[in-house]
Symmetry: C2
Amino acid sequence: MITRTLVKQLAALPDGPVSVAGWVETVRDQKKVQFVILRDESGAVQLVNPATRELEEGADAAASARLALTEQISELGHGTFVRVTGELKHDERVKLGGLEVKIGSLEVVAEALETPIAADSSLDKRMDWRFLDLRHPKQNLIFRIQTTFLHALRTYWVEHDFVEIQTPKLMASASESRAELFELGYFEGKAYLAQSPQFFKQMAQPAGLGRVFEVGPAFRADPSFTSRHATEFTSIDAEMSWIDSHEDVMKMHEELLVAGFTAVREKHGAEIEELFGLEITVPTTPFPRIPLAEAKQIVAEHGYVVPRADADMDPEGERRISEYVKETYGHEFVFLTDYASSIRPFYHMRHEGDSNLTNSYDLIYNGVEISTGAQREHRIDVLVEQAKEKGLDPEELEFYLDFFRYGVPPHGGFGMGLARVLMLMLHEHSIRETTYLFRGPTRLLP
Amino acid sequence: MITRTLVKQLAALPDGPVSVAGWVETVRDQKKVQFVILRDESGAVQLVNPATRELEEGADAAASARLALTEQISELGHGTFVRVTGELKHDERVKLGGLEVKIGSLEVVAEALETPIAADSSLDKRMDWRFLDLRHPKQNLIFRIQTTFLHALRTYWVEHDFVEIQTPKLMASASESRAELFELGYFEGKAYLAQSPQFFKQMAQPAGLGRVFEVGPAFRADPSFTSRHATEFTSIDAEMSWIDSHEDVMKMHEELLVAGFTAVREKHGAEIEELFGLEITVPTTPFPRIPLAEAKQIVAEHGYVVPRADADMDPEGERRISEYVKETYGHEFVFLTDYASSIRPFYHMRHEGDSNLTNSYDLIYNGVEISTGAQREHRIDVLVEQAKEKGLDPEELEFYLDFFRYGVPPHGGFGMGLARVLMLMLHEHSIRETTYLFRGPTRLLP
């Protein structure tokens, strides 16, 4: 490796020689002294150089070198990647971290064109130049948070004996609905992109894997342009055997989120406070649970009648029930439970004794739905009936229905959108900010 | 959750009442006693029931229940999911784990059709019924090993400050080559499925993320039917900034594999020995490194002249150099280095002073290539030249070339096929055995 010290490690070092490497964030080229803010993946540091603007008569080689360095710094453009060797000096008067590096030598590793984006560029323009946009400390932090969050989730699962699966994204038929399905040519035939790992994570149940998880892409040919929808997104999925009801899924789900939020708070709490101006709260368990019908009643009583003909909530209703829960229980999360069968997929198990309701839930976080979970129907005859009732052709579902004909235990699980969780955790306004490279109806680049 | 004890936990329990749940593997229905082998995701246990074949005159309700239980067990089919409550008894005469459970009550949770596959079914037929095939302890173990392996890799990365990224699988143009590219309709236009995360993981370098990793699907419209190729596979990718050469990538790569193999050996070593009859060896570092040209010479000297017009190896050559390395250095891995520019993509950096060779490597494990790694060319002018030389149109690569125009540090990384690593680790003969649901030119189901 090229010898360098990460900027974040400088604070712990004594004064003395160091090498750092990163990109030039700003240059302040004053007459007598030059300041360069150098940033790397871990932070920013001030570099300083006493300027040598001209040579006196009879100047020696060292003076020539100082002049050359001064001129080199004057020409440095924003975004240029450089390696710098110099002297670290702790000095509490320096605002940026209380230290600076006096430049000994500077090597330009890669020059840079002038950046086409600024702090006030539109979101769309920033997306055009995402690889530059990501250089900002906030964006950088988002993906470090994501790393920590996902690792905590996976660690929870591994410790609870879940098996990681990678389900195929190429399918012979739809996984959820015929709408919003991407189709592609597949040798002599056709294939479809998985809208979710639903069928394949359920397959792990007759396969006897017990408990499984997956973090992977899902695809929806969704033409909408909201702040919460994408044509490709990272789906966090889990499925487990031998549950009694969706209550067991919710219990695992909330424990999992506690693990994720605890890790994020511990590792990044201070940085998040500094850059996002907010404190990460680890949610308490159990999360509040409200049956959907009751939730609709509550928001109606508070002045908002959900303008839908069906039994479902709408985004405004989710925002309001979330507000209500926050005020009443001081909680950022709420499980809305027992959705009507009419607005749930055929594979959700229905209440014993009331087939109008399902053993299912949506999880709302800070006003937005981030996840749907349910107990699945595992009785083949009931499942076929429910598929027919939804207007599906059981013949097209044969490969899926077969999973249930050879034995399957009671099971359930959830799917959760990663970018939504991060968006809401950090009070961002769009999943575009919390997706590495967003994909939408008019965005396939970069 | 439905109350049950995992089979693997029984050994540690005292004699007494227990509940277990799983599927029926076999029933031995003897005249005086019935034995059921029940399997769950953690192992198998023998259940026993003293048969009551007929009722004596004046028999009580308890006797009737015993008769009913006996008849219920006689009718149990393979694959039926059941819950059993009974008495655990440790008895070293019982071959299966030295314990058995005397059945008190048995509830059939889901019945099962007769399994269409047997131990000697063809691989293709087993793939047709993958959800039943996976019930076998060997297959189950493969995915537990995979879970442990991936978690160890990610833990290594997290501890080394790598950032996890999820790169898009939908692209506006090819990521590697125009051949083997899946195309799909995308609203009014077209999109392509990523053949690798290559361009997007490199994008993390100008984005200043420093070190990144990803485990995700990659797609190749590859019409071949070998044991090592699939149209969709899980790719393990890493990319890091500020390297001196591909040597830095190899160093990270071998440390990573040591972490993965150590975790697998520790957690599953005994089971692997039992079920696969082999011992997992943790490789020693450094792995042997042999320049490709030298490797070809070595296999030629040992009687095999690689029958290719270009500078490349072939699978037989890889097998033979691997054999040679095993005999000579006692090592299962070998890095073949310094591939000719003519057989490497345009973005591999070439040797300073000899543009015929690249700063690249392939990693061979037990005779098969599992990975390609390289230092990337980060100098925009050289990169454009190399693209042109390969017959590529720089205009089609604009979005990628832009990454380099705004500054990028020296960097490199690798991509590695997960299913191949597991296949070779477990001495399996096809990646079909180590892929959850294999996808090939004629396989999209289940």
